[in-house]
């Protein structure tokens, strides 16, 4: 089932949690709502579920108006951040809940319910623990029970609020991949909320980046990572180097060097900020004639597939570069060595009013 949100606005007292948000989730996709806390992502998820009512805007399921349908009528599976398992019920009864509250004419007989619950518990590998209570389970186990409970009523849409937020790093990794596999197996339209960029980029088909109640960018993980639409997305997704400078004609002067502006980059203020990811910085031992700036190696972290090099420029600002192990051995970099750095690709934005972080 596809989800369409049209111009959703949600106000809590005098705080506007969502401004005019429009998002479309095609049938069968796994979409991440990504943003820092307070960006409105959970509110948006709750609006899809019918747990909050928007002040303005529309929610459509499969093109049909659903804004005014109650949460119990929407048949949407919802997995809560803290799982919200029924504390006085066993794992089995938790999963059976949705099947038992159905109206009598739709309700399965109890043996059929038991079969179905066991099947779901097998799916989430919790069959052995069906008699346990939520207080006797670990975080990862609770998470899986919450998921089985949500799937029991065969929802057309699955919503997950910070599904891995309360788990430790190792379990999180495992569960993340498991969720992706599960999604591919049952093919249910899913939306999950997260503040963890790695999680969003690894698991989702589409990422909706949110900030202060607005959508900053919607795209595939590659699109939002490689081609951020706004400075915020640049900052939020991965490490980034900043270059402050001035626009002159079709060039931007950034401290010690200048670069051609990308064609079609419309800038209406002379103040500009260039953004470049660490892997787009190239390190040379000699000047090559291309635009470069001088820097000194301050720190090297060679553990992992990419070597992380911390550089200090003449003006004292810090840059981060990531180079391949092979290139690192070629250059024989050491602490304190002077180098020349070029930028393979850079995105230039107008300088915002209040800039985050440093840069050249």
């Amino acid at each position: 089932m596809s989800i369409e949100l049209r111009a959703i606005t949600k106000i809590f007292g005098d705080f506007t949690a969502l401004h005019d948000v429009s998002v479309t989730v095609p049938t069968g996709e796994l979409v991440a709502l990504l943003g820092p806390s307070g960006s409105g992502k959970t509110t948006l998820l709750r609006i899809i579920a019918g747990l909050e009512t928007p002040e303005r805007g529309e929610v459509l399921f499969d093109g049909k108006e659903a804004t005014h349908r109650t949460a119990s009528d929407r048949r949407v599976g919802f997995v809560f951040q803290h799982y919200a398992l029924f504390r006085h019920m066993s794992v089995f009864d938790n999963v059976a809940f949705g099947l038992r509250v159905k109206p009598r004419r739709e309700r399965l007989p109890e043996p059929a319910i038991a079969d179905k619950v066991h099947e779901l518990l097998r799916l989430v590998q919790m069959e052995r623990l069906s008699a346990r209570y939520s207080s006797q389970l670990s975080g990862g186990q609770r998470q899986r029970v919450a998921l089985a409970r949500a799937l029991a009523v065969q929802p057309k849409i699955l919503l997950l609020d910070e599904p891995f937020g309360a788990l430790d790093a190792q379990v999180r990794q495992e569960l993340r991949r498991w969720l992706r596999r599960l999604h591919d197996e049952i093919g249910i339209t899913s939306v999950f909320v997260t503040h963890d960029q790695d999680e969003a980029l690894e698991v989702a088909d589409q990422v909706v980046v949110m900030h202060e109640g607005r959508v900053e960018q919607i795209g595939t993980p590659e699109e939002v990572y490689e081609h951020p639409a706004t400075p915020f997305v640049y900052h939020f997704l991965g490490n980034v180097n900043l270059f402050h400078g001035r626009v002159e004609g079709d060039k931007v002067n950034l401290g010690e060097f200048s670069m051609q502006l990308p064609t079609g980059a419309a800038l209406d203020t002379p103040q500009a900020v260039g953004y470049a990811r660490p892997h787009l910085l190239e390190i040379e031992l000699q000047p090559t004639g291309a635009p470069q700036f001088k820097a000194t190696v301050r720190h090297i972290n060679a553990a992992g597939p990419m070597v992380k090099v911390e550089l200090v420029t003449g003006s004292g600002s810090v840059m981060h570069a990531e180079i391949a192990q092979e290139r690192y051995r070629q250059l024989q970099l050491r602490k304190g060595v002077p180098v020349f750095v070029s930028v393979k690709e850079m995105k230039v934005f107008n300088a915002p009013q209040n800039m985050l972080g440093g840069g050249i």
């Binding site: 579920a49 019918g50 747990l51 109650t70 949460a71 119990s72 929407r74 048949r75 949407v76 599976g77 919802f78 809560f80 803290h82 919200a84 398992l85 029924f86 504390r87 006085h88 809940f97 949705g98 509250v101 159905k102 209570y133 207080s135 409970r149 949500a150 029991a152 009523v153």
Partner: protein, 277 residues
């Protein structure tokens, strides 16, 4: 045994325990025992005559009736009020919580007077009640009203912190699973607060049966008609029928003991429930 450095010297510990025991003995155990001793002073026959006297039986009946009305009413009110306060945000929530505490902070005598002022012959609604031949003050309805008023905070006070701590995520989960409001209440909300609710009900019941001040003001002390157990004890006592007075009083003491036993049982359950949560 803890290491010596972690605990007080032995004489301090034993001293404190002794003080506590002596204090409890003087102010609790001896008076309670005295009630039973005094009640049975003239033999079981006199005791039995006192508690099976028609006036005593009528007092027992009225006390039970009053509790049977006041406790369920306050249970419903307590559930509704704590639900509203714990699960919804609205203006005047703080004021509502303060109002719920009024019966705790006002002297019971004043609670009784409020109803006399409202429903008495000279009261605000007095003329209207007389015109319609309705009697509230110096009659059973007045006793019930005063008891309801005095006991209404018990259940709400017990449930509000419990429900606030539990939040409404489980209810939301139930709703997204397709449960309607009724199913959510019976299958999720009520089971989660049942021990707290029972605890509140026990306290409410104890107070409903034992209330003296407010009921005394509105009752009129008509023997066999508007006398509750505590009022009956007072009447007997004022008539110098000490053995009878203590015999009836011993019934109230028994009730208190049963309540305490039930309360500690429920407390244990509540604690287990909280640890499990």
């Amino acid at each position: 045994m803890n290491g010596p450095s972690l605990t007080e010297p032995r004489f301090v510990r034993w001293g404190l325990i002794a003080v506590t025991l002596v204090y409890l003995g003087i102010f609790l155990v001896i008076p309670l025992a005295a009630v039973f001793v005094k009640a049975l002073e003239k033999g079981v026959g006199v005791y039995w005559a006192a508690v099976s006297d028609p006036a005593a039986l009528s007092a027992i009946r009225l006390t039970l009736t009053t509790a049977a009305i006041a406790v369920p009413l306050n249970m419903l009110f307590g559930l509704a009020a704590s639900w509203a306060i714990a699960k919804f945000e609205f203006r005047g929530k703080q004021i509502l919580m303060t109002l719920i505490d009024v019966p705790f902070s006002v002297s019971p005598v004043i609670s009784g007077m409020i109803f006399v002022l409202l429903f008495g012959a000279q009261g605000l609604l007095g003329p209207w009640l007389v015109a319609h031949n309705l009697k509230i003050i110096f009659a059973v309805p007045g006793i019930v009203l005063a008891t309801v008023f005095v006991t209404f905070p018990f259940v709400a006070r017990e449930l509000i912190p419990l429900m606030e701590a539990q939040g409404s995520e489980e209810e939301e989960a139930a709703v997204t699973l397709g449960a309607n409001g009724w199913q959510t209440f019976w299958r999720v909300t009520l089971p989660n607060v049942k021990w707290g609710l029972l605890y509140g009900v026990i306290l409410c019941n104890a107070r409903a049966m034992g209330e003296f001040g407010a009921v005394s003001v509105v009752s009129g002390h008509i023997r066999g008609m508007t006398n509750t157990l505590p009022l009956h004890v007072e009447i007997l006592y004022n008539e110098y029928q000490f053995s009878a007075a203590f015999a009836v009083a011993s019934l109230l003491c028994l009730l208190a003991l049963v309540t305490l036993a039930a309360k500690s049982l429920v407390e244990r359950k509540v604690r287990v429930g909280k640890e499990a949560a």
